[in-house]
Symmetry: C2
Subunit: 203 residues, 2 copies
């Protein structure tokens, strides 16, 4: 609202600051993936971003602030993209499997989720609610898709949509866990084989 051009925004520093934040988040993703949230130190993150941990504090006042930024980044990178095309029914399942396949090109993303979510089993972890929510939303998304498919006779009659949803989610999580230790696993292909066994139509 000022008429002067001496504000940070006018001097273009917000854009620079946003760029700096991105660099710090990228470094934090690396470090948290490797060492988890508890053991990944701010000093290591800062070093990889080319600054000191005290300087980083200007962008992220506390470690939890940095974690939240990382989780938000993860969210934007992940399944939300698939949801933008608003698929329904069997196309949700196809998009899901496709998204898992794309994750195989981004080990840091998979490792980040595996490490942080396991840490967040403890109720006092700052990311505890985040992951509980994430899994519930994923389960709800898949349950809606399988329900639609059940109405159209595409899901085997003896299988409840909610059970199918939980199984697909479980298998995805478990396959990614194994893939982190053996990168030769074709997660998307195995997931497709699995899901097809639940259906009456080709996937």
């Amino acid at each position: 609202m000022t008429t002067q051009d001496t504000t940070p925004r006018a001097r273009g520093e917000y854009a620079k600051s946003a760029q700096r934040r991105k660099e710090i988040i990228a470094a934090a993703v690396e470090v948290f993936s490797e060492s988890g949230f508890r053991d990944g130190s701010l000093r290591t993150v800062a070093e990889r971003a080319g600054m000191t941990h005290a300087g980083m504090r200007h962008h992220f006042p506390t470690k939890v602030d940095l974690l939240e930024a990382v989780l938000q980044w993860r969210e934007e990178e992940s399944l939300e993209r698939a949801r933008l095309s608003h698929p329904t029914g069997i196309d949700v399942i196809r998009a899901w499997i496709n998204s898992v396949g794309e994750n195989s090109t981004r080990p840091a993303l998979v490792e980040l989720e595996a490490v942080l979510s396991a840490e967040a089993i403890s109720a006092d972890n700052p990311a505890h609610e985040y992951f509980t929510d994430l899994y519930q939303r994923a389960e709800a998304l898949l349950t809606r898709a399988f329900s639609t498919m059940a109405d159209e006779g595409q899901l085997r009659a003896e299988i409840e949509p909610s059970v199918a949803a939980r199984l697909l989610l479980s298998t995805t999580l478990g396959l990614q866990t194994l893939w982190l230790r053996n990168r030769s696993i074709d997660t998307a292909a195995e997931l497709k084989t699995y899901t097809a066994a639940l259906l009456t139509v080709p996937l």
Copy 2:
């Protein structure tokens, strides 16, 4: 070999020491389940076992020694029991699902495995090889079982035994992950539904 009765064994101190070790391991299982290996401190473990961390050093000289004892305890408590009855074919699968059901009565065991194995994704974690081995052994066990079943026409023809094995293992791991956040999930029942979809005979 001594004829005197002044050895520690003769004085019954080995038994006492073994009991103390068990108490310490039980405390370590609690702490490592809650906080992981890196963030779980020896001081906390010692406090729960009713001693100081320096006193604990008499039983476990280093933190890694304690971790190894905890992993060994986990092994003895878990699926190794089921293997003692030496089942083959479909009975291996039944024993596997049954074992998962029993795990639902022991949250500490499931949580310990989830937390420690996620931490051990890092190659420099002292439990890294342990969990890689564990999953490979489990996969081999299940692959043998599904191969036997394939020979007897009990496995759907289009499904490779090794793929079925990996899917059962994955789903087990994923279901237990979800169960840690929502104890109302009947992991054994869902696993049975899932596995039945891969077979040509009732489970």
